[in-house]
């Protein structure tokens, strides 16, 4: 008997359709770790589930961001296969749910767009788990040139090409000298990809090596693979007429605690210019609810997150939110647990209704 062969989202029950099927439908928007965790939990309870995913394959960041060496994609796909085949979960991939939100990275891969209102109306409860797919822009002068990419876009295109969803020509083509800004796991993953693509990587971060949210080990590994790491530094200005030709760095005085930058001041007189062909930016991401502004009575909280109460319910009755779109960018584990907890409350809510 073999266990743990794949990510079993339905781990809360046995590998068989529950005997008691509940006459309620749940719509889950987003098939990342939070959405899939919620789908698995509720499938075990016997609900009818539809998962809407704008990308052609499920998994979210686990598949389209994090490299396969860390999370083997098949483990996610096989878990989804079980959801579909044994638990009758409807996985509607390439199906974007929107209420007039702006187009974001990856939307081009969707084949259809459905109205959020419809998804909410056609279900007895809805869980929005759409993550944080907008990257923070580099706060430097002269960034209106070619050759600057968000780490997320770089990773996403690499993964999409690996999965055969995009032609090779759609990959971000990096030249030899690449500056990667940031010191979190996204920065580390992007740096690894760039090294694999044959680039010379220069990691630039406010954080010192041991303060890096990615962990000192990851940064050291990048250095061992030939990268350079400059700490307590930011890019002040991008130099180049139409594309990146060089970058002006400046030292900073900063205080970093638990991955949070508490204080930041540039130190005048420490400016210096280094060569660069490309800049990859990994300095945080913003939540991407499937709507712009507060349509449909779903209020936003700080930083553009979807506001939820202790039951994971939004300001709109029967609409819940889980994962990074409600809590901000976090590790897979936190998003996964968020999906489970939201699902627990969806179940409690629906039990009262049935």
């Amino acid at each position: 008997m073999s266990f743990g062969e794949y990510m079993r989202f339905t781990f809360m029950c046995k590998k068989e359709k529950p005997a008691q099927r509940l006459d309620a439908k749940v719509a889950i928007i987003g098939a990342g770790p939070a959405g899939l965790a919620a789908a698995g939990y509720l499938a075990c309870k016997g609900y009818g589930i539809t998962v809407y995913e704008r990308l052609p394959l499920p998994g979210g960041m686990m598949v389209f961001g994090i490299p396969g060496a860390r999370i083997p994609k098949n483990r996610v796909f096989l878990g989804c296969k079980e959801l579909e085949e044994i638990f009758d979960v409807r996985m509607k991939t390439s199906c974007r749910i929107s209420a007039g939100g702006e187009e974001i990275l990856g939307d081009k891969l969707a084949k259809e767009t459905l109205e959020l209102q419809r998804a909410i109306d056609e279900s007895d409860a809805t869980v929005i788990a759409t993550g944080t797919w907008i990257s923070n822009a580099l706060p430097a002068e002269g960034t209106n040139v070619d050759g600057i990419y968000s780490a997320l876009e770089y990773l996403f295109r690499n993964r999409s090409c690996e999965l055969g969803l995009m032609p090779e020509c759609e990959k971000v083509k990096l030249s030899s000298k690449v500056a990667v800004v940031g010191a979190g796991l996204v920065a580390a993953d992007a740096a690894l990809d760039a090294i694999r693509d044959g680039c010379q990587v220069h990691l630039i971060s406010i954080e010192k090596l041991l303060e890096a949210p990615a962990g000192g080990y990851e940064i050291n590994r990048l250095i061992e693979l030939g990268s350079k790491h400059t700490e307590r530094t930011v890019i002040k200005r991008v130099i180049g007429e139409e594309k990146v030709e060089a970058i002006e760095l400046i030292d900073v005085d900063a205080e970093v605690k638990n991955g949070v930058i508490l204080r930041l001041e540039q130190i005048p007189g420490t400016e210096r210019t280094v060569d660069a062909d490309n800049i990859i930016v990994a300095i945080g991401q913003k939540p991407t609810p499937p709507f712009r502004n507060e349509v449909l009575g779903i209020k936003l909280s700080r930083g553009g997150r979807i506001g939820i109460d202790e039951r994971f319910m939004t300001s709109r009755e029967k609409v819940f939110a889980a994962g990074d779109v409600a809590a901000g960018t976090s590790k897979v584990g936190r998003a996964f647990q968020s999906g489970l907890r939201a699902a627990y409350w969806v179940d409690r809510y629906l039990q009262k209704m049935l």
């Binding site: 008997m1 073999s2 266990f3 743990g4 062969e5 794949y6 990510m7 079993r8 989202f9 781990f11 029950c13 046995k14 770790p33 686990m62 994090i66 060496a69 860390r70 999370i71 083997p72 483990r75 996610v76 030899s176 694999r196 044959g198 090596l209 041991l210 890096a212 962990g215 000192g216 080990y217 990851e218 940064i219 050291n220 693979l225 030939g226 590790k331 897979v332 584990g333 936190r334 996964f336 647990q337 489970l340 907890r341």
Partner: protein, 164 residues
């Protein structure tokens, strides 16, 4: 159960799922002083030190090989917590007795397996017969070595073309 620490990516799914299922996480991700993320949990030793030092016989091994605690016998002396080479035993601050991974005893009673085993995205938590448990880390290690070899040959290629 065995966790392949080398393959762990520190994603915390195990910790957060355990917390959800068991109210308190019995597997935790810790960071070493040089920033390596390691998962720490009870490994259910064949010859457990904790069972040997327990003065009341509260700790024991069940039929599946899991090391468990009979709560009513635990006097909170904490000898087991100190003796465990893996620091896998915690003290419950409310009850004053010890708390540890029980290989999801309640789930096993229902015919399920430990939650972390089934939810680890990277597949580094191994559970089953001894052979099962050791075969997979070997396979994983071979795959990792293979990737290292591929990456290092690409590095050679890169340093050979450095002059452009």
């Amino acid at each position: 159960m065995l966790v392949d620490v080398g393959g762990c990516i520190g994603c915390e799914v195990c910790e957060k799922v355990c917390e959800f299922v068991n109210s308190h996480a019995r597997v935790n991700i810790y960071s070493t002083s040089d920033g390596i993320l390691v998962p720490l949990t009870c490994v259910h030793c064949t010859n457990p030190v904790c069972v040997r030092v327990c003065p009341t016989g509260a700790l024991y091994k069940d039929g599946d090989g899991a090391v468990l605690v009979r709560e009513y016998r635990c006097i909170g002396c904490k000898l087991c917590a100190i003796a465990c080479p893996f620091g896998a035993i915690d003290i419950d601050p409310v009850k004053g007795i010890i708390r540890k991974c029980d290989l999801c005893a309640e789930r096993r009673r229902q015919g399920l397996v430990p939650a972390c085993v089934e939810t680890c995205p990277s597949g580094v938590v191994f559970y089953g017969e001894y052979e099962e448990v050791t075969r997979k880390p070997k396979r994983k290690a071979i795959e990792l070595l293979r990737q290292m070899k591929v990456l290092s040959s690409e590095e050679d290629k890169e340093s050979n073309t450095q002059g452009r």
